[in-house]
C-alpha cells in the first residue's frame, strides 16, 4: 500500500507538471485549478455540433470521438454542480476498482475515469465516453469493495449500452433537431452548444428510462462476477438503499430517477437465480474497503 501510494504521488507529480505547463495552477490535496487559458479550454464545438446533427442518423453512426465530446460536456455539468473529493488515495482506489471492472467489459480500453463527488446526496452517474461518478453520500453507505464495484459496474453498463446517448437522441428527435434547423444563419456553434447543454441538463434531472436502469443492473452483476466479486453485493447495496428513509432529502433525487430498490432486487433475483449461484462465494473485500476509506478521509487535511 505504501509503495502504491508512492507511485500515485509520482503520477500526481507528473500531472502537476503537465497541468502547470498548460497554465493551470494545481496542488495536491487541494487540486486548486486556476483560471484556464482559452486555448483548449473551450467547448468541443465542432464535435458537439456534429454530434447534435448526427441525431438524425442511426445510433451506430456516432463516433467514439463524438461520444467522448458529449461525455466531456456532461461531466463538465456534473462537476459544475458538485466538485470532486480531491483526495489522491481515494481517487487511486476508486479508479483501480473501476478500471478492473471495466477491463471485463466490451470496452476495456476506453479512457475510463472514476471520481467521488463531494456531495451528501446518495447517487452515482455515468456520462457517455466513460466518466463515472459516485457521491460521497453513497460511498459512505457501502460496506465493502464488491459493493463499490457493483455501483461502478452499473454505471459502466450505462456507458457500454450508450443509454445517455440514446436518450439524448430520442429527446433530440422530439424537438432538438427541429429547433436547430431554425437556427440557420445564427451563431450556430453557440446555439448548438447551448441546446446540447440544456439537453444534457434535462436528461440528468429526469434520469434514464426504467428499462435502462434494470439493464444496467443485470449486466452490471455479470461484470462483477467476471471481475471476481460476489455479484449478489449489488442486491445488498439495494437492500441498504431500501432502508434509507424515502423522506430523507439525500435520497430524494435517486428515488426520483430510478426504479424502487425492491423492484430492482426482485428483477435481479429473478434473473440471477440458478445462473449466478456459483459466484456467490466470490470476493467481497470488506477490510480493504474500510481501511482505504478510513485512511483517505483521515488524511483529508
Amino acid at each position: 500500500m505504501k509503495d502504491s501510494h508512492t507511485n500515485f504521488t509520482l503520477v500526481i507529480t507528473v500531472c502537476t507538471f503537465l497541468l502547470t505547463s498548460q497554465a493551470y495552477a494545481f496542488s495536491v490535496g487541494g487540486f486548486s485549478l486556476g483560471d484556464s487559458d482559452d486555448e483548449g479550454a473551450g467547448l468541443d464545438l465542432t464535435n458537439i455540433v456534429d454530434a447534435v446533427n448526427n441525431t438524425k442518423q442511426a445510433f451506430s453512426d456516432i463516433s467514439p470521438e463524438e461520444e467522448r465530446a458529449i461525455g466531456r460536456q456532461s461531466a463538465s455539468i456534473v462537476l459544475g454542480v458538485t466538485p470532486i473529493v480531491y483526495n489522491a488515495a481515494l481517487h487511486e482506489y476508486v479508479n483501480k476498482v473501476g478500471l478492473w471492472v471495466a477491463k471485463h467489459s466490451e470496452q476495456p480500453d476506453l479512457s475510463w475515469r472514476f471520481a467521488v463527488l463531494d456531495s451528501d446526496s446518495i447517487n452515482a452517474y455515468a456520462t457517455p465516453g466513460g466518466f463515472i461518478f459516485i457521491t460521497r453520500g453513497l460511498l459512505f453507505r457501502l460496506k465493502n469493495e464488491a459493493q463499490l464495484a457493483a455501483v461502478l459496474a452499473h454505471e459502466i453498463v450505462h456507458v457500454l449500452q450508450q443509454h445517455h446517448v440514446k436518450a439524448l437522441k430520442k429527446n433530440a428527435r422530439a424537438g432538438l433537431v427541429g429547433n436547430l434547423a431554425t437556427l440557420a444563419g445564427g451563431p450556430k456553434y453557440q446555439a448548438a452548444s447551448e441546446l446540447m447543454l440544456s439537453g444534457i441538463k434535462e436528461l440528468y434531472a429526469r434520469g434514464l428510462d426504467r428499462d435502462d436502469e434494470l439493464e444496467a443492473d443485470h449486466m452490471g452483476v455479470v461484470l462483477m462476477a467476471r471481475a471476481g466479486y460476489d455479484p449478489y453485493e449489488l442486491m445488498a447495496v439495494l437492500l441498504i438503499l431500501d432502508s434509507v428513509n424515502p423522506e430523507d432529502s439525500s435520497i430524494e433525487q435517486f428515488l426520483n430517477t430510478h426504479p424502487a430498490p425492491l423492484q430492482r432486487m426482485e428483477h435481479l433475483d429473478g434473473l440471477m437465480r440458478g445462473k449466478m449461484d456459483q459466484y456467490a462465494t466470490q470476493t467481497r473485500g470488506e477490510d480493504r474497503f474500510i481501511r482505504t476509506l478510513t485512511r483517505a478521509f483521515t488524511q483529508d487535511q
Binding site: V11, K96, L99, Y232, L239, N245, L271
Partner: protein, 175 residues
C-alpha cells in the same frame, strides 16, 4: 469539514456489515432451513416481527428471531431497520434557514442545481489527467485475490416491464 467527514464515516462503519443489523420481514413468510426455496420450513414469521441478520449468501439472508430460532429468508423478503442518525429531512423552512449551509454540492445533482450549473471543463481536464493505469489496477486486483471469470450476460426472455412483483420465475433464461 474533516470532522464532518470522519463523523459520517464512523457512523457508517458502525453498520459495517449487514451482520447484526435488525430487520423486519416485509410480509408473513416461512423461515427456510437453508438458502433455497425448496428447503423445508417449519416456522412462519409474521410481517414486521423483529429479526437480526447473521449473514447473507447469494440472494438469501440468514437471520435469527428473538426467540433464538434461526433460518433463511430471501433478501427480497426483508427490510433493514435503518439505525443511522436521522438525516436532514426536507422541511418548508429549509429554503430560508440561514443556519443550514445548503450548497449545491451538498444538495447534489437536481433539476434546480442543474439549471444554474456553469459547466466546469477545467475540472474535467484535471480528471482526465489523472490516470492510475490499467496495469496498476490489475496488480491491485491480484492483491485481493480477484480472478477473472468468463461469465455470459443474463438474457431476458420477457421484457422487464412485464414482470410481476412477486413472481420472477418466468424471467429465467431457459436457453
Amino acid at each position: 469539514m474533516l470532522r464532518i467527514l470522519l463523523g459520517l464515516l464512523l457512523a457508517s462503519t458502525q453498520q459495517l456489515l449487514l451482520a447484526d443489523q435488525e430487520a423486519r420481514p416485509r410480509r408473513d413468510t416461512p423461515l427456510y432451513t437453508s438458502p433455497a426455496s425448496q428447503a423445508g420450513n417449519n416456522i412462519s414469521l409474521s410481517a414486521d416481527s423483529a429479526v437480526t441478520v447473521i449473514k447473507h449468501k447469494g440472494a438469501w439472508v440468514h437471520i435469527k428471531t428473538h426467540n433464538g430460532a434461526d433460518g433463511w429468508l430471501p433478501m427480497t423478503a426483508i427490510r433493514l431497520v435503518n439505525k443511522q442518525p436521522a438525516a436532514k429531512q426536507r422541511t418548508a423552512s429549509d429554503e430560508n434557514d440561514d443556519e443550514v449551509v445548503s450548497t449545491d454540492a451538498v444538495r447534489g445533482i437536481r433539476a434546480d442545481t442543474l439549471q444554474d450549473a456553469q459547466p466546469d471543463l477545467d475540472a474535467v481536464k484535471a480528471l482526465e489527467q489523472l490516470d492510475v493505469g490499467l496495469e496498476n489496477a490489475v496488480s491491485f486486483a491480484g492483491e485481493l485475490g480477484l480472478k477473472s471469470q468468463e461469465v455470459e450476460y443474463l438474457a431476458l426472455t420477457v421484457a422487464p416491464e412485464k414482470q410481476t412483483d412477486n413472481d420472477n420465475s418466468n424471467l429465467l433464461d431457459e436457453e
